[in-house]
Symmetry: C2
Subunit: 241 residues, 2 copies
């Protein structure tokens, strides 16, 4: 069966960028999933795999940047097409950062699991990661469909991620105060939680870029920035001296 739609070389170039972004997105999701699994299951082998996998995203970003610039120079696109290309540059930068954050979680696996922490410590982190990953997946679905009318969910889920991160932050501080042996692993878990919260922020950035690609406008009003933990000031019991 012959295709009725004849694509121009330019359309094909744009489609290539979109496909490349989609594949970077899938790769970034897997890295984050596996990094968290490596942490929960104390699996340094899986952590090492995630660390190695990061190079794929660095390479993806570099390729998209190079291709995008060649397309702009060669095709001199206007309006939507230009936004599509500039948007691809931005989204690939966000996905590369998501990969870096996943890798950073993976690199902490040994330091966190050294002392065999109770699994309850990981449950909160797993829930946070699930929420951030759902955000990333749905945003990438919007990228595939370009249906920005559904994009309202992004802000709501961002709020949920922030609230869950804030409560996890408090919980981890409490564990640290209960027993000094928890301080080192919980510090690494705090950074893991922060990384995951930031993955949610990058997903939101991507949503904003998609909105810009489709409508030509910036999403109105800066969203309140994620991290609310800066105000947290738990007081510890007096030391048992």
């Amino acid at each position: 069966m012959q295709s009725v739609h004849i694509m121009s070389a330019f359309d094909e170039e744009l489609k290539y960028l979109s496909k490349r972004i989609a594949s970077m997105g899938g790769h970034a999701e897997r890295m984050v999933e596996q990094a968290v699994a490596a942490l929960v299951n104390a699996d340094p082998g899986l952590a090492q795999k995630v660390i190695n996998d990061d190079a794929v995203l660095d390479e993806g970003q570099r390729e998209i940047d190079d291709k995008a610039i060649i397309i702009i120079a060669k095709r001199q696109p206007m309006a939507t097409d230009l936004r599509e290309i500039v948007g691809a540059i931005r989204i690939s930068a966000d996905l590369e950062r998501v990969g870096d954050l996943g890798k950073n979680v993976a690199k902490r696996v040994v330091a966190v699991t050294d002392g065999r922490q109770p699994s309850s410590l990981f449950r909160g982190l797993e829930a946070l990661a699930n929420l951030a990953l759902t955000q990333l997946k749905e945003v990438l679905d919007v990228y595939a469909s370009r249906s920005v009318d559904k994009i309202g969910f992004v802000r709501d889920r961002d709020d949920q991620i922030d609230a869950m991160y804030t409560s996890l932050f408090r919980e981890l501080l409490t564990y640290m105060m209960e027993d000094p042996r928890n301080i080192t692993p919980c510090t690494h878990l705090l950074f893991c939680a922060k990384n995951i919260e930031r993955i949610g922020d990058h997903a939101t950035n991507i949503a904003e870029t998609i909105y810009y690609i489709v409508t030509g406008d910036q999403m109105p009003a800066e969203r309140p920035k994620g991290d609310k933990t800066d105000k947290i000031s738990l007081s510890a019991p007096l030391p048992a001296k």
Copy 2:
């Protein structure tokens, strides 16, 4: 006296982007300087000023993005000029992130200084901030002069920043283990230190972008990523139960 050099409208547009970047850079530096000063001197008023100042960088990035896209569409630039414009988009994104990180330090001022920490706690953070700020300043000087032959210093100083961050990380963990009352403020200081280490990373990103603008090549070989603290696993004394 009449200028002998007649500038084209296009040259002026490019020059405008460069000037805008330089002014964003100066603004970002000041924010980081003042955020650290607010922390060291327990000055919530100055911290609030930094938090308010962040909007200037958000606006700067937005303006550069919009202008850059208009210039590309209108002028259809090639080679160096195109790299100059794409470079401006990237650098303004890095500077906007530097501002966010400075703002995040400022937001922690109240939580950190609540309990009046000994000033020794801040000395390491100040030294780290000085190093990161010197990196940022010198990179912005390279942007102004476009003399990438001098860019070798960037990697060396990045290594120094990483080493200093790692030792500060250890020091803060030790304070936390000594006295549970240190846990909350030191956790915030850990995040402040991480933010400052990342400001150094953004300065290095900017150096890489400048290298790309001037030479058309990516700086060879990915630099080893900054944070070496992921391996740190200090053991605490047994709890005094």
